[in-house]
Subunit: 282 residues, 6 copies
């Protein structure tokens, strides 16, 4: 599991390659429970932009460094000194304009995780508060360890979560009663509850086991046609927010180009010959 | 648990205050299993309009009076004498116009429960048929007692439910197969099934225990910043029906005003000082 | 359980009537695991168009013939000789145009199952791969037997599923993490998992028991007002893809005509008299 | 042209009947250029709610009383003493909440003009600023006199128009460049320009001639089937904001009830017999 | 201008070829002012389905046969004997179901004109009432002769137009005041008015001159890359009903296949060499 | 009219300040008719991003440098050597992926003109082909000189326009027949036609006069409350793509913050005192 050289300039994220075509991104501020400040979320966006078009990457695993936390969320101390809270001009409209721009920029960075063309498997573990939910809701598959403590924490610092949790959570789990409960109460919930409502789709004994499962899944996805896997991700994200009729139309347009691929032949032949197919980079 | 004086003029609903900032609304026609007639749903709308802007209320618990039923639904006998069924003019188009207006007005009243700015926790218990589902689907969190018997009853009286159940149920639980099953068959289902599919998020031994749990949750929510809690409700309701991109944009606009609040400072300080914060009325 | 005479001209589907007003459609190519080729999906569309307006049918059960499979999906061998794969003109845009038309036509056929005005109960059993998910996602209620092996298989033949699975699956189950997992990995999952996530709403010991349960449910639905049952189906399908406000409006318009029915009186009277109501054909 | 008795309790609006089935509503504060204060817009909503269901009304003409103005807009002096501007609590979020509620209530009143089931023909004349555009954009047909001076005035009092102009103007005229120009510059434009861009569809020499033309059109509409005319209004309003496919579907549902009318026969017969048809009230 | 052999089996439409790659479709019932009955609109759909995929056709001109009318609309006499009006079962809901199915089928036929992949230029002339507007609103470009008399006639036969006019007219012209006026009043308007509001984009002296202009435009379009022209039609139709963001996304997906075409090179080279490019069939 | 120092590093655009708070951006490649290559559109995005947040700018004028052209569009020669056309990998799906990414990036740059918070007035003059329409459709107000020659040129180089014209043109002018005509035929049209259909809202004798008019309008807008003007732009852009109901809701949320501004008082006072108000920077 070696560092990926092209990503070594990033300061707050470690990017390594546990297996061929798989990148493992770690939020790297374990001494502070991986709490985020502005530089970090700007960099997070850049990491995922790079992964999105990197032909050597076909699946991404995202976790926190260290054993204690995926992330404790926003570094409130840093934030209270930063631009968002200090914006204040004595004029409500002008302050609001500053706020709005700040929130938009913050949202944009987190959204890059969702827009990454490659599948993203997020491993939650330990303390996973606030921004942990915003970020992991952008991932495609969520896995967690037994010890995970999750919370949509924002209400407890006096605000409605505005970086993505409230926009995405109703679309990734089915029970709206549960979503309202955890978002309004800011209560901590555990791995079993997260599994029962479908927020995560696997729970494992430890962080190590969870990472292993995530890497296995990522490796499996990387062995398949990247045209097929990445198309599936895109079409599911589109389907989530469009009518069935619009989604079918979009799907047909998408595949009118994507079926013109050697991957179909390769996949087809190897399924007959019981061999492992090879696919060109994408 | 004293009656709330300002609500004592309502005839069909009891409104009391089990704890600070919490209002408990009871459908008050226990002798008739809390079955609804037109005056009642008009009043229901007014109760929730008043709660929505009442600065002394931060969370609402809704239940039925008496032990037998949350509500048995529409009082079919009263309805059959009332305006909706009697509308008939020998001309299909004119009858349809009367029908349409009647249904719109009925829907509007029930929708006020959803539009209430404060979080609403609905306690289902005993017989909970027809309108029970329409009304509770407007609430934010649903809790029920073990003895609850639920049914989307309308098909059994010859019509497709038109006051809200069919519009909201697909958005509050995840399994569309289950939604179709219970809505088309009108079969009775119990508390365990309601929990398993995510329609309710808690089940308790008895009505009393359920009310207690609901009041506890309402009290917890009332202790938090009302700016944060009510914003969370609004943003989740918006997110449910809009794309992620539109929801993020709306969220940023909303918070550009809502972050200009003393609640952030109060919440922040008390989380550091481990004290209980105080928030101005809203 | 006699063959339905009016449907005896169909070559690839058996249509029988296990009870009054119930039609049982069987995919009839058991020797080839009910795998589909072009003629079959064209015929599937025609069968459901006919059922949709057939006044003698009030509910439909759909299953595969034989014990081994609901359907193994696309007959890849047939497809590779057919129009879709052979389309190729040396010009990417022209090939794409052929592809697009082909996918649209294929989608249209499958969509007829969803557009059928009568409720459709799909019984999955044995091998249920690829097209099995596309088709069953169009049904209203899904039931399966314990031995069912399901898979969104398309990624394994090098493409993103484009006949409906990716468009509908996010709308029929709640956990988006699970949907992404099974659609990207193409892994096989069983009946228990399908039940846990809400893809199916019943699991039975065997195919025979599953068919029995489906026929029972279909018979129950057929005993109710067809105006009420079919309206419920239509309104739930509309609600799934529209805002609550639009759905309420549409519902009121729909019922302004549909409440002008003798079914209300019939249902009402028999509920008082504890008799079985009779409803005119629809 | 007699006063309509049932509307004589309204204080700020005169409602008379210039011909059978036609109501003429006049904003009645000519000494103050028909400028609006809160009581007036609340009453405006009530007038149009009443007209909407009044079986004796089939078309409405709306104008200002007196020769000088349709309306000069908001009575800024009254407003500056009223609830909207005075709302201020030292806390930005709480002030915003008051503002939001105030704007919603104001919008709701104006929207009643659009929601009125009967066609509304608005006659603009003289000074027609600010609220004049908000209100007339809710009407179905706009007519003006040569002397009309129009302006989207809000920018000149320091705010973006929030009562409807910005929401509706892009949907009632075609040139977005023109819409942006007049809304951002707040410049005054005249009758000819309003006609050229399609904001009004007729211009007449004087206010009197304009009223006459409006009454003639209203009388013509009132001679036709109210089922047909009111349906046309509803379906065009729906079409404006929905896709063609959704609009076609909604139209078919709407007409499935509305074609069950004696009006078709009456209209049909009289077109053959060259007689004037009579239609039942609606 | 020879008949197109492959279209000679159609009974109610003449299809000829005035120039290479251009088809001219004439509604062929001049003795009855080209009034439509059910067989005709079913056939209309089939004609345009065939044109849509015909590689020898790149642009379509649609007009009426004879000098008196494009079409006088629905043949009311035929209709009154046909299925739509005669549907009546004594039960409002069942009658509504028949109506709904009938309207859907009728709409579907007319919509084929819009769905035709090739550009359609409609020449209106003489009497152009009712269905004339429904059909021509599906075309891409509208041209008319000076003598054209147009009317959205449906209100005069007691119904709101339900075959497409109300759904499409607000999207093809800019002035909503004008749309409401002509749709509610059913008044006749002429060529100059149609041009002024943008319903047609050319007016010519006579039907013959109009046909000539339409054929010239069709011939021009046929000389260009069919990939480019047909893509432009599709993308504009999509843009009309989607947000700019969704339209941009769809456009990029569409062109990701459509830019892989020899047409770019051919167009590019001939623009340099001032020669006429040749494009492969589509 | 001095150069704006902060913008002097841009290579392909001149940015000067003809009056207080007004920025004039010129496309600066007159020797090549201001034709665009990749570096230029990337820079265009950056210029407008900077203007969007620049507190010293309240309105922007955009034109081409030199007398001959606003822009002749894409520099086809440069493009044919660049990344988009050269993308080709022998695999249709992989080529499509490169294409899609390229088109997205190109679109993103042009969209920044629309997203600029400040009003943008575009002056078209001389040759204005292809990209000229894409870019100017992003502006708020369009003005042109008499000599302007416009064309949606893309069809003539073998493709459907994909950088914004097809997405925005149907939303900035009313006549869809005209839009289809010019987009499919690629014909050149002049200033008068552009004015008649509402694409531009002013035509002036010369480029100089047009610039003068644009600067005057920009100066007028800059003298008004920036909170009001910029809010108006944002709300109109939102209204264009949302239902009236959604737009009203968004407007109320927006103004709940934006009414908390000193600009209202300043505007109010100076309208009483007939003085020129001063507004703080935004």
């Amino acid at each position: 599991m070696s560092q990926l050289h092209e990503y070594s300039d990033f300061k707050h994220f470690l990017v390594s390659s546990p297996s061929e075509y798989v990148a493992h991104v770690e939020i790297n501020r374990p001494a502070k429970l991986n709490a985020f400040f502005e530089d970090m979320w700007v960099e997070l966006g850049k990491v995922f932009d790079k992964l999105s078009c990197d032909p050597n990457v076909r699946a991404v695993v995202l976790s926190g460094a260290g054993d204690r936390a995926f992330t404790a969320g926003l570094d409130v101390k840093a934030a209270s000194e930063g631009s968002i809270v200090s914006a204040s001009a004595g004029d409500g409209a002008r302050t609001a304009t500053q706020m709005r721009r700040g929130v938009f920029e913050f949202q944009e960075c987190i959204t890059r995780v969702e827009k990454c063309e490659k599948p993203v498997i997020c491993v939650l573990h330990g303390i996973s508060y606030g921004l942990a939910i915003d970020v992991s809701s952008c991932a495609d598959v969520r896995i967690c360890s037994k010890d995970t403590k999750l919370s949509v924490k924002e209400v407890d610092i006096g605000l409605a979560a505005d970086i993505g949790t409230l926009s995405r959570l109703p679309k990734v789990v089915g029970s709206f009663s549960w979503v309202k409960d955890v978002c309004m109460s800011a209560r901590i919930f555990g791995a079993d509850e997260a599994l029962a409502v479908g927020f995560v789709s696997q729970v494992h004994e430890s962080k190590a086991k969870s990472i292993e499962a995530a890497v296995n899944l990522a490796t499996l996805l990387s062995s398949k046609s990247p045209v097929a896997v990445q198309g599936t991700k895109e079409l599911l994200n589109h389907a989530r927010e469009n009518t069935v009729a619009d989604s079918l139309r979009y799907t047909a347009i998408w595949n009118s180009a994507m079926l013109q691929s050697n991957d179909l032949k390769a996949a087809f032949m190897s399924s007959f010959q019981k061999t492992r197919p090879t696919f060109a980079k994408l």
